[in-house]
Symmetry: C2
Subunit: 417 residues, 2 copies
């Protein structure tokens, strides 16, 4: 019997009507002859409410016991898994709910950010063998070796879904969400942005880490490792057919790959920080970025200028809301004598624009073309980083939409390959 994994996010199970709508989708797959493993998130808003209560319960030092956080916050998914099972039963579909510890979803690592170690399939398989058609699993949670409930970190239900698809060798892992697929860019900025039929794991990984919020990065990594056919599609479309949504799959499975650039991503709230005149000696990068990492600053792009008289400037980007955190960390390092710089500048008004595509591997000149397009629009490039399949630039934020539209047009992303 073939297994399909279907994952419904918080907006797709936000209330009983939405749960009923999701159940209709599950029914279609059951009628297609599949056993289905449904992964559910908490009703949208519930997790935030629970997290708020946890934070307010331990206001003194801002710290709290992460195991208790997990015990409290995981309850949101328990509720939706039971309600979904009830709804399916009401439609005469044999279904039951599973909490992380019942499967069990075995986790390791630390609370609030645990990793799935193993998902023994016996219990759910026995339930399928007994005639249950649907296993409704509470996403985002599992159980540690010591028997305590763990959560996988925000967005972890995507990872739960992919891990189940891998463990049960599912035919597909369908991620139902409030958008109907992966687009060439944000349709709110570019009106003729096009939904991609297929995208490779590598491209999806770059897009996810560059600001596309549809899939959690870890879930894409896991899907790549286990060759899970991952599909992103809308909870609110009428019917399920193989043409809807976007399939995330191996590069070899994509005919469309003649296309060099696959998508344009952006990240709005970036800041550019520059340390002026630091000593250019071995170990200086570590002296800068270790304190930043310890302070929890998410450093993204890093550029080191050429040296002049044994001193250099070091520029990096981070989210705008971490500017103060970064400044404090670097000032402390300066005071402690671990670091010596003349000045610390920050520009909170920049944005990151990226182009992504597997085809860049084999085709030279893509970066050059990108820079030319931006120059033609009068957009000055402040920082550049590249990887095998992407080019990112930092630009003044006021040019962000203009830059995205210009790149989308020039690479003709609105046209099907």
């Amino acid at each position: 019997m073939s297994v399909i994994v279907m994952k419904f996010g918080g907006t797709s199970v936000a209330d009983l009507d939405k749960i009923a709508n999701a159940a209709d989708k599950v029914k279609q797959e059951v009628e297609n002859g599949h056993n289905v493993i449904v992964i559910v998130s908490a009703m949208s808003g519930k997790t935030n409410e629970l997290v708020g209560w946890v934070k307010d319960s331990a206001p003194g030092n801002g710290l709290h016991d992460k195991a208790e956080y997990d015990a409290v916050v995981s309850s949101g998914e328990n509720v939706t898994s039971g309600l979904m099972a009830l709804r399916l039963q009401e439609m005469d579909i044999p279904a039951r709910s599973w909490q992380g510890w019942q499967v069990p979803v075995k986790c390791t690592g630390h609370h609030e950010g645990a990793r799935i170690d193993a998902i023994p399939s016996e219990n759910i398989e026995a339930s399928f063998a007994d005639g249950t058609k649907v296993a409704v699993v509470a996403g985002f949670q599992g159980v540690m070796a010591d028997g305590r409930t763990a959560t996988l970190g925000r967005g972890g239900s995507d990872t739960t879904a992919v891990a189940f698809a891998a463990a049960f060798e599912a035919e597909r892992c369908d991620i139902y969400t409030d958008v109907d697929g992966i687009y060439t860019t944000d349709p709110r900025i570019v009106g003729n942005a096009r939904r991609l039929e297929k995208i490779s794991y590598e491209e999806m990984l770059e897009l996810a880490s560059l600001g596309a919020k549809v899939l959690q990065t870890r879930s894409v990594e896991l899907a790549r490792s286990y060759r899970v056919r991952l599909r992103v599609l809308s909870s609110f479309g009428e019917t399920i057919s193989d043409n809807t949504g976007t399939l995330v799959c191996r590069e070899e499975d994509i005919m469309e790959n003649i296309r060099v650039v696959k998508g344009v991503a952006y990240s709005r709230d970036e800041a550019k920080m520059t340390l002026v005149s630091v000593a250019d000696r071995p170990g200086v990068a570590a002296a800068i970025f270790r304190p930043l990492a310890e302070a929890g600053v998410n450093v993204d792009m890093i550029v080191q200028n050429i040296s002049d008289d044994g001193r250099t400037d070091m520029t990096f980007s981070c989210p705008t809301d971490q500017i103060a955190l970064a400044e404090n960390a670097l000032s402390r390092a300066q005071e402690d004598g671990e670091l010596n710089f003349k000045e610390l500048l920050n520009d909170p008004n920049v944005a990151k624009i990226s182009i992504v595509g597997n085809g860049m591997r084999s085709q030279a000149g893509v970066a050059g073309k990108m820079f030319g397009i931006l120059a033609d629009e009068g957009v000055n490039i402040q920082v550049i980083t590249t990887s095998e399949i992407k080019v990112s630039v930092l630009v003044d934020r006021k040019y962000m939409e203009l830059a995205v539209r210009a790149l989308h047009d020039a690479f003709e992303l609105e046209k099907a390959a």
Copy 2:
């Protein structure tokens, strides 16, 4: 190390402030040198919200999978147990939360109304041995042999508390609630009703089943079986001292027992049903009350009149909202030929008044005195039942408050023994 069990109901953990208030009480017991097992209910209102979602998820036939009900509804207690543990940690008291399956609270019977079979103490004892002072246990829930979560039925957290007190041979089991003890009668009806310092298990059982809603009947039965010293006290008093609240204990431990009548209870929404002219032959009572039981009618008092020409009248009482249920069940039995009666009368406007006291066992004439008091007030008695330690009468509902006050006055319950 001595163990104290403290149970906080829904109104005592209704929000974070109330949880903090309850945590202050726990702290006092820890400072008194005890290890504490705290049993928590869901925040008040939460269980009703979850039950509503369950019912609305299976609207078609009014039935639903009770195992899924339990999976959903138990989540409310998981939340409060985690939040209470966090709050205690914030006060530098080593604490951790326990869900039913983690302890484990082993249950048998059926979902939505499971019974606690065993509570192995090893896990929590190991946690105490490691220096944790407080185990915060989610009340009302446990785990079945098949690994599914079960609930104990509404009010089940009282039973959880008493079962833990028995399993850990606790010094006391303190039930914190929104009243400060057991009263001689409802203070809303009798202004000078008096809080009892002590009451016997048997008296408490009668009062609980007669309408006093402070303790769940099953929890009192369990406390009696295991000789658990049960105390009812207010969550909102300032300090804990042995003089607050009411202790529920063995009859032998009560000096106060010279008092014959301990309390006056009432139940407002009673209906009186009379089957007129049924055949007075062996098996007729079964023919009446089996279909009522199968229909789920909670029959309370039963009176059979003397026989006349081989026929008799049978009267019983039940909650007013079950009148239609009872009528349907009896009409069907009549149609099926299992029963033959001439007429079915109902009076939805009666109330039950009861007096309770261990002293009745040894003192004759208490029932007679009760009937005299009611007669003096012009209150007609419609049905009478007695047990060793209580007398209950059914009266016209309009006399209910009058009857309660008259009995409370005449037996001088406002005076300390």
